[in-house]
Amino acid sequence: MKSGNAGPQNGSKPAPATRPRLRALLVEDNSADAELVVRELKRGGFDVSSETAQTPEQFRAKLRPNRPDVVLADYNLGQWRGMDALEILRQEHLEDIPLILVSGALGDVTAVECIKRGATDYVLKDSLARLPVSIRRALHEREVSEERKLVQSELAKKAEELARSNRDLEQFAYVASHDLQEPLRMVAAYTQLLAEKYRGKLDEEAEKYIHYAVDGATRMQTLIQDLLAFSRAGRDGMPTAPASSGEIVERALQNLEGALRDSHAIVNYGGLPTIIANAGQMQQVFQNLIGNAIKFRGPETPVIDVAADRVGGEWQFSVADNGIGIAPEHAANIFVVFQRLHTREEYPGNGIGLAICKKILERHGGRIWVESQAGQGTIFKFTLPAAAAEPQADAAIPQPLAAAAAG
């Protein structure tokens, strides 16, 4: 039998232009068997360079400097076993090299055991023709798995970079807003003092200039405070815990006491569930939504309904009002920072409340949207993921809160 044969044995097909190179490390104490294996590999179309190891020490030594592409191991070599080679590969951190058992009859149970323990495949010595196919499949699988590992590690790196970039941005926004407040306080205070000191002593033009300056400065103060609130909202790593959404709504209503009284608004809430959330942030959400419902009221007494429904794995909350409504074409815009649909004279505010709600809810893994028509009231809906072992909602009886009923 010639060795080192360059062409295929069958037909007059020309030899392939390039044969894939294969570096094989054989674990075999029978040189005749080893030769048979190498010949089969060449027949299978590989450009083979092979080494043979008969003892564990030889095996370990031959793993470097040239890594084998594949290890072909006999099952039983007297003093040691082919599966021991697998262990050595692991110790050398080379467990991605496929190990194929090439052996006499093993028995299904043993064969399956070996594969479970990490052998890539096994081929019977009297069916060696299978070997090239098995090797090709093993090499292909390794390529795929390496590609996938690469992609995963790139993804993890990108995610980490993104998280860090987000933290940096939030930190920057917080520091900037904080540090901007001090000089702004100076501008605002002293323009107001100017206005006060020279009231009535300046001509109309000058009074107007001072008025614009004061107005600009005070508006900027509110803007920066809003930015600060926005950068604090739903910050990375805020703690969450089980909380009663009913109690959170109550605290929000306490903060809205003045507006509730002035508008004679009625707020219904009841049967609200326990949620897993950051209570302070969720209070902001309810305060913003209910506050908006009161602010953008129509001619009738505002009636606001807060409710929650279990939809699949989520709680779907709704805050519904009978106010002025929102035309559908504006529905997406209202959640953008500083976007407003009305002038400051019509309704006060900076346009940051809904952007804050959206940020907080998204950080909780939920989302928020609006259903409304101009002139027909508005329903804001948002979702929060429900916890696994879901406790029941508290009191099913609606609890109307008539703020001015007592008069």
């Binding site: 407040q181 001090e182 306080r185 100076m186 605002a188 205070a189 002293y190 107001q192 003092l193 005070t218 103060q221 405070q225």
Partner: protein, 140 residues
Amino acid sequence: MLLVDDNPADIDLTHNALSRTPFSLHISSVPDGAEAMALLCRTGKYKDARPPDLVILDLNLPRKDGRAVLSEVKSSPQLRKTPVIIFSTSQASRDIGRSYELGANSYVCKPGNLQDYISAIMHIGNFWLGCAHLPHQEEQ
């Protein structure tokens, strides 16, 4: 009264606010904590200074910060009876808690808008000068 603040604009604002109270006041001001201690201990150029009846103290000061001044004043047998009001933009609960721990007589956050600033200073003046009784300061 002694005002300790490194921002001259705030010193002026406080003067302005105090002038709206009915009290006739002698107001000194220093821009940092080292000067504040020198004045309170009547050392160097301050050896003839009148001991203040009330101190309004900012926290973030150069050379020696307000926390150190507070600590030194409230641990000195001669100085600690002098009421010290912390007046600072910091709303950090850490700063507030620590100030009271060190013996601050009260902590007032500097408000952001003019009206509230003036109002806060007037409250402080009206309370300490009009309502509370101040300890007698010996002229040694």
